[in-house]
Structures are given as structure tokens and as C-alpha cells.
């Protein structure tokens, strides 16, 4: 197993519990999607993995986050990046005043192998040909889609073993969403990089992923292989926007899993 979350609990400011006993497995070379409503704890989960909670006064208070067998919970974020866990933050956080090229170079900040970095940069242009023409552009002036490509490219330059993508398609036009999704697929196949994709756009996420978890109020309420989840009525209704009947059914009728009492996890 590449990455394992075992009963992870996250508390903000010592009082607000956001993740409750979350268990997630990411096998080597797989793509895992995390679905869930706003405020379910998806971003918190990613930040717990890449140890970015401290800025927001959050902390992993229970459980273990095992990466290749070592517990990395609450360790130094820079150290986690060097281990090969690289997050693409939500909201297109490019460094606006730097050029595209400087942004990409920052992705390779801790790497000493300059020649390989140059090769990697070339390879990134094969995934995102548009970036090559934008190299000298100030990245704050890029379009949303271009920024997202830049961010994925920047993350790839850090030589990740696993890529954590937080809403990579947020606010993008449907065509651009498709493009990003196909790029992610291509990268996954060519580089054998595992991924965790957090998405509101469940269709986009399931197009890349082979396994998915549904997070609700800080708990994993459902998980399974992509095909299984796609067939599930709840998923269809709440995340894929498909309805079996003509008119939408009442919440109580459809929400099967809520009725089961869950004592553990």
C-alpha cells in the first residue's frame, strides 16, 4: 500500500473536530476519488496528508497516516514534499507575480539534479503543450485552465509518487474540464503516479479514478470501486445528478445509508 489513512481524526483549534476516524487506502499506481458535499472534510483530509493544517491551527489528533509504511502525520510539510507527496491546492494558487517558467522551476525547488529537471520540464510540455508558449508570461494573467495546467505541471516537477489534487476542475468550462481530465489520465498512465482527486464534479473525478470514497460530515460513509459506485442509487442522485424517476424523490426515500446506524467509523 502506498498511502494508508488509519482512523485519522483532525481537530481545528483544539475544539472543532472535522475528520472522524477516516480510513482510506491508496494502492501503488491507483487513482482514488474523494466525493462529498461542501464542508464534508475533503480538503482537510488532503491537508492532513500533506501536513498543511498547522497554518489553520489544525492538527491530526488521532490515527496514523502511513506513507510507504512510515507515519507522516503532523510532520514537516517540506519533508513530505521531498518524500513524494505533492498537493495541488484548490483555487489555482499560482505565484502571480512570477512567470510561468519561474513557477515551474519553483516546483523543482528542492531537487539538485538540474539536467533531469530540464528533461522533466520538456516532458511536461508534452502533456500541456499550451504551457510552452506561455513560459515568459506572468502567471497571474493566465486563464483558469492554463493556471490549472501550470499547477499540475509544477507539482509534477517535484517528482511526486502521489499527487493530491484538490478540485482541479473548479470553475472551468466543460471543454476545459474534459481536457484536464484526459491530461490527468494520460499522466497517470505514462508516469505511474498515484493520485487522490477531491472533486465536486463527480463525473470528472470518476472518469479518472478507479476507486472512490464518499465523505460526509467528516466520516467515510461509502466506498467502493468506480463501477460499483456509479451504479449506486445515492451516488447517482446526489453526485451524478441522475434520477431514476421522473420527479426527484424525497431525501428520506433515497438516503439508504443514513438509516443504518454506524457504530464504528
Amino acid at each position: 500500500m502506498l498511502l494508508e489513512l488509519k482512523n485519522v481524526e483532525v481537530v481545528y483549534s483544539g475544539v472543532v473536530q472535522v475528520l472522524r476516524s477516516v480510513n482510506v487506502d491508496v494502492p501503488q499506481g491507483s487513482v482514488v476519488a474523494i466525493l462529498g458535499a461542501n464542508g464534508a472534510g475533503k480538503t482537510t483530509m488532503l491537508k492532513a496528508i500533506s501536513s498543511l493544517l498547522e497554518v489553520e491551527h489544525g492538527e491530526v489528533t488521532g490515527g496514523e497516516i502511513l506513507f510507504q509504511g512510515t507515519n507522516i502525520a503532523n510532520s514537516d510539510p517540506a519533508d513530505i514534499v521531498q518524500r513524494g507527496i505533492v498537493q495541488v491546492l484548490e483555487g489555482r494558487k499560482v505565484l502571480e507575480h512570477l512567470t510561468v517558467e519561474q513557477n515551474l522551476r519553483l516546483g523543482a525547488h528542492f531537487r539538485k539534479d538540474r539536467d533531469v529537471v530540464a528533461e522533466d520540464m520538456e516532458r511536461i510540455f508534452t502533456y500541456f503543450p499550451a504551457l510552452r508558449g506561455l513560459l515568459k508570461r506572468t502567471s497571474g494573467y493566465l486563464s483558469g485552465g492554463e493556471m490549472q495546467m501550470l499547477l499540475v505541471g509544477r507539482a509534477l516537477l517535484a517528482k511526486p509518487k502521489i499527487l493530491l489534487l484538490d478540485e482541479p476542475t473548479m470553475g472551468l468550462a466543460p471543454l476545459i474540464v474534459q481536457e484536464i481530465v484526459s491530461c490527468l489520465k494520460q499522466i497517470h498512465e505514462a508516469e505511474n503516479i498515484s493520485m487522490i482527486i477531491v472533486e465536486q464534479n463527480a463525473n470528472a473525478a470518476l472518469a479518472v479514478a478507479d476507486y472512490a470514497y464518499v465523505l460526509e460530515n467528516g466520516r467515510i460513509v461509502m466506498h467502493g470501486p468506480k463501477e460499483e459506485l456509479q451504479k449506486n442509487q445515492d451516488i447517482q442522485e446526489f453526485y451524478l445528478g441522475l434520477s431514476m424517476d421522473q420527479d426527484r424523490r424525497s431525501f428520506r426515500d433515497i438516503k439508504h445509508y443514513k438509516r443504518r446506524k454506524r457504530w464504528i467509523g
Binding site: L52, P77, A78, V81, V88, K93, H97, L98, R105, H109
Partner: protein, 351 residues
């Protein structure tokens, strides 16, 4: 905007400051002119320019801490003071030559700054500004209470003159050349830092300190490094200052001076080392002119004596800072860039 006909094939080419042959030529001539300046200048002007060089080193340091890494520092003049005092102690107590004493002063200032930069690991903005003000408040107290044999206590210290290879460097000409050499070294360092791996890490922290760690940048390390680098510059500037004024006391390094340094950086433009240089030139010129005008007025108008006129020059200074913040918050360096771009696309209005 590049000069016409210039194409880059490599990243290093793009990062170069001087691209075309005429640019390199003009720059070389400019440097030569700076070295020849003492031959034509009056002693007074030479002293002013020489002092400007000293200030530039301190403000370049501030540009690294505040402009590049985005860590607010209101204690720069305290670090200048540490540099000045340690340099003086090295020169007087241990009779070290200036080229050893000044770097030791710089290093001492850098080490002191780590103490006040450590809080930057956890706090930012206003709160950080306050801890750096603490450096400023503690500095005169500490200096005057330390044993008299170290730093001369409240009386301050008197400096020996500089000596190079057994010859005494005497007069404004000599000091000017020494200051110029130091400035060239430290300006080059700053300009190169900006386009290095470390510089990019500083900028990443300034732009977004949540994003920076995602790229494997160790926040604590680089924030403290930014303070250290800025304070080393301040310390060097302090050492040169000590030799320049030949006498150091704690009263010379006030919070007001730190604010002036910051004002210089703001007016010039925080985001570029060029801004630091512009800022120092503009503010110094402004101070000199207002003083001249002040002297002129107080000679001729009976009720305006010097006690009224000279404080009033600070009002002019404040007004200029406010005006710049309103009309060009990015500083003169942005105007300079726009002017350069306009020149290159002339006669078209836009490219």
C-alpha cells in the same frame, strides 16, 4: 518588454539583466564614471553620494527581507547599529583592519537578527512588525548597559581611520571609493539573489505562505534566512557608516531611521533591488533640496528660524511618501519599467 531583435534560447538568457551590446557598454561606462566621479566632484557632493551608498546597502538588505521575502522589518537601523558597534569594537579593541572588521560587524548583525527573526516562523504582518520594533527599542538600552570596555557604554566609540596595505585611506575620496566597492559587491549579490533558487523561494513565501511549503520550501528556514541576509547587509552598512562618521553612539540608530529606510524602499518599489537604489536616491535628493531651500528661507525670512524650517522638511518627506503610495503604490521602479517599455515600442502607443 524586450529590446527588439532579442530572442532567448535558454532560461539563463531570459534571466540576464544586460542583454544587448549597447546595454552592456552603457553599464560599463556608468561604472567607470562612478569610479572617476571623485575627480570632478566637490567634497560636499562626494560626501553626500558616499553616504547614499552606505544607505543603499542597508535598504538593499531591507529589500531582501521585506521586498523579496515579505517579512516586515521595522528594526533595520538597530541592525545597522549592531554592525557599526561591532565593527568599531573590532577596529578599536582588536585593531583589525576595516576589511575584516566590517564583515565581522555584518555577521554579528545577522546573528542578532535571527533572535528577532525567529518569531517570523509563527507570526506575520503587524505582529511581526512589533517584534522587530522590539529590536529597535532594546538596542540603545543594551548598548549603554554593556561593559564600557566592550562598546564604550553611553559615550559611544571613536573610530580609527581605514588602512589598506599600510596606507591610510584619507579624505572623502578614499572613503567614497571604498563605499562604492562595497555597494557594487552587495548590489550584485542582491540582484543575483533575486533570480536564484533561494530568491525564488523568498518570493514564493511572500506571495503565498500556504503554497510555498507545497513546493517543498521550508518556511522557517527561509524566513529566518531572509532576516539574516537583510541584517548582514545592514551590518555591513553600519560598519561603513562607523568609518564614515568616525564616531558611533546609540542615538544614531533610531526607529525613525528604520522608518525612513522603509519609506525609501516603498518609494523606489519593494519588488526589485532597483527600487531600493531608486528610493535612496530620490529621498536623499529630496532631503538635500528641502534642507537647501530651508536654509535659504531661514536666511531671508526673519520669523522662520532653523528650529521651524528643519522639522518642516520631514513634512515634505511624509507628503511625498503619501503621494507615491496613492499614485504609484508599486514604486518608481514600475514607472521606470513602463518608460523603458514605451521607449522600446516607440512610435507605437502599445505593443
Amino acid at each position: 518588454m524586450l529590446p527588439s531583435g532579442v530572442i532567448f534560447k535558454k532560461y539563463s538568457g531570459e534571466e540576464a539583466y544586460l542583454v544587448t551590446r549597447p546595454q552592456k557598454l552603457v553599464f560599463a561606462l556608468f561604472i567607470v564614471a562612478l569610479f572617476l566621479f571623485p575627480m570632478v566632484s566637490s567634497t560636499y557632493l562626494l560626501g553626500t553620494v558616499s553616504f547614499m551608498f552606505i544607505t543603499m546597502i542597508a535598504v538593499l538588505g531591507l529589500q531582501i527581507t521585506v521586498g523579496m521575502a515579505g517579512q516586515i522589518n521595522l528594526g533595520q537601523s538597530a541592525f545597522v547599529g549592531v554592525g557599526a558597534y561591532v565593527t568599531a569594537a573590532m577596529a578599536v579593541n582588536y585593531e583589525l583592519p576595516f576589511y575584516v572588521a566590517i564583515p565581522i560587524g555584518g555577521l554579528a548583525a545577522g546573528l542578532t537578527s535571527i533572535l528577532f527573526g525567529l518569531p517570523a516562523a509563527r507570526i506575520k504582518g503587524f505582529y511581526l512588525a512589533l517584534t522587530t520594533v522590539a529590536a529597535q527599542v532594546m538596542f540603545p538600552l543594551a548598548i549603554s548597559r554593556l561593559p564600557r570596555s566592550w562598546f564604550g557604554g553611553p559615550n559611544g566609540m571613536s573610530m580609527p581611520s581605514m588602512e589598506l596595505f599600510g596606507y591610510e585611506i584619507w579624505g572623502q575620496q578614499g572613503i567614497y571609493l571604498i563605499n562604492l566597492c562595497f555597494l557594487i559587491v552587495f548590489a550584485t549579490l542582491t540582484f543575483n539573489l533575486q533570480r536564484s533558487r533561494t530568491g525564488r523561494a523568498f518570493i514564493a513565501i511572500r506571495e503565498n505562505d500556504v503554497v510555498a511549503p507545497v513546493m517543498g520550501i521550508n518556511l522557517v528556514k527561509y524566513k529566518i534566512l531572509a532576516f539574516f541576509a537583510g541584517a548582514v547587509f545592514a551590518g555591513i552598512s553600519g560598519g561603513l557608516y562607523a568609518y564614515y562618521v568616525t564616531y558611533v553612539t546609540a542615538e544614531q540608530f533610531t526607529l525613525w531611521l528604520s522608518v525612513i529606510y522603509l519609506g525609501m524602499l516603498l518609494i523606489g518599489g519593494m519588488t526589485s533591488p532597483l527600487g531600493a537604489i531608486f528610493g535612496v536616491i530620490i529621498i536623499t535628493l529630496l532631503q538635500e533640496t528641502t534642507h537647501d531651500i530651508g536654509g535659504f528661507l531661514s536666511d531671508r525670512i526673519s520669523f522662520l528660524d532653523e528650529s521651524v524650517i528643519f522639522p518642516a522638511t520631514n513634512i515634505v518627506l511624509g507628503a511625498v511618501i503619501i503621494a507615491v503610495l496613492i499614485f504609484e503604490p508599486n514604486g518608481m521602479v514600475r514607472r521606470w519599467r513602463i518608460a523603458k517599455a514605451a521607449y522600446r515600442i516607440w512610435p507605437k502607443p502599445h505593443g
